[in-house]
């Protein structure tokens, strides 16, 4: 039998964790292992055992180059954390946090209990919602020509000019239109951020890992917001108003969630 180490999913209050017996929880990250709460005073960490052979530093780095291996584990991690976060206030941990010994986890809970309890208090009754902003380039470019006085005037003059001049003016119009479209998207994205932040406890702009082009257009910005459950209707209405306001410019908003609060527990390093 190979050596086992501990994979840690999330942290919650012990009293709340007691409401979620392990046999009611989803499957652990590796087969043949049960989830387990490790409780120290007021705090509890949700863990399961994993083979040291797969989760050593070198093995992990190698596994991570295998997208299938990683995707399956990441989904299992998410399934567990999401299940818990839907029911009790939860601090989600980063994927693949491993402890060699049970003592190590107990120590982290004991030594950081004050900070962890503060974080839990700040998160109580709140959820994370993602907002993705997409831009349909063709719609945006044509709407820009209609609303920009400079572009309208140039287009009119190009219509009356000689073929040679008209060609040059058209080139200038195209370049200007691209510039104005870029500025318009930036303006709209800033407005979306500002408006939704006002409806949330906190908000962060996330980096875009890959430029995704979907049926809704190209992904221009990604945000995460920390929203009170009791204030979600208002948050959603504000997002909907923004979506309506910018629809004619080819902008679409996508709301995703609720997520475990992955983006609002990052300051802490244990």
């Amino acid at each position: 039998m190979s050596e086992l180490v501990y994979y840690v999913y999330c942290i919650a209050e012990s009293a709340a964790a007691e409401q979620l017996p392990v046999d009611s929880l989803p499957a652990a990250i590796e087969e043949d292992a049960q989830l387990e709460w490790i409780s120290v005073n007021t705090l509890a960490a949700l863990v399961s055992r994993v083979p040291a052979s797969s989760y050593s530093e070198e093995q992990l780095a190698e596994h991570l180059t295998d997208a299938t291996w990683t995707a399956i584990r990441a989904m299992r991690h998410e399934t567990v954390v999401e299940f818990v976060a839907k029911r009790i206030t939860t601090i989600p941990l980063r994927f693949a946090t491993i402890y060699l010994e049970r003592d190590g986890i107990e120590q982290i809970l004991a030594e950081n209990s004050h900070d962890l309890e503060l974080i839990i208090e700040q998160l109580r009754g709140r959820e994370e919602w993602g907002v993705n902003v997409y831009s349909d380039r063709a719609v945006l470019l044509s709407s820009i020509t209609q609303v920009s006085p400079v572009l309208r005037e140039l287009a009119e003059r190009a219509g009356k000019a000689s073929p040679g001049q008209s060609y040059l003016m058209q080139k200038k119009i195209d370049a200007l239109r691209v510039d104005e479209a870029r500025a318009a998207v930036n303006r709209i994205v800033d407005q979306i951020e500002e408006t939704l932040k006002a409806q949330a406890d906190d908000g962060v702009r996330l980096r875009i890992l890959k430029v995704e082009t979907t049926e809704h257009g190209e992904l221009k910005a990604k945000f995460a917001f920390l929203v009170r459950r009791s204030g979600f209707e208002e948050f959603r209405d504000a997002a909907e108003r923004l979506a309506q306001e910018h629809q004619a410019a080819g902008i679409r908003l996508e709301l995703t969630g609720p997520w475990p609060v992955y983006n609002f527990v990052t300051g802490f390093t244990g």
Binding site: T70, I72, A74, T97, Y99, I108, G130, D237, Q247, G257
Partner: protein
């Protein structure tokens, strides 16, 4: 219920490819970093996102594997 044509609500992650990617993005890059005895670095994670086409086809495979597990 309001008209939600413009606002796309994606609460059912399982149902779309984009959502799986979205989930991976959330899970892999974020969450509380505590001093685990073994942790992965941001650079390791970014590797996973390199090569869109390879990644998407691998994720497709991953989804099939997950589905099979659920049926079993």
């Amino acid at each position: 219920m309001n008209d939600v044509d413009q606002l796309i609500i994606s609460e059912e992650f399982e149902n779309s490819d984009a959502s799986l990617l979205e989930t991976l993005d959330h899970v892999l890059n974020r969450g509380l970093v505590i001093a685990g005895e073994i942790t992965i670095s941001v650079a390791d994670i970014d590797l996973v996102f390199v090569g869109l086409n390879v990644f998407v086809s691998s994720v497709e495979t991953a989804r099939e594997v997950l589905r099979k597990r659920e049926v079993e």
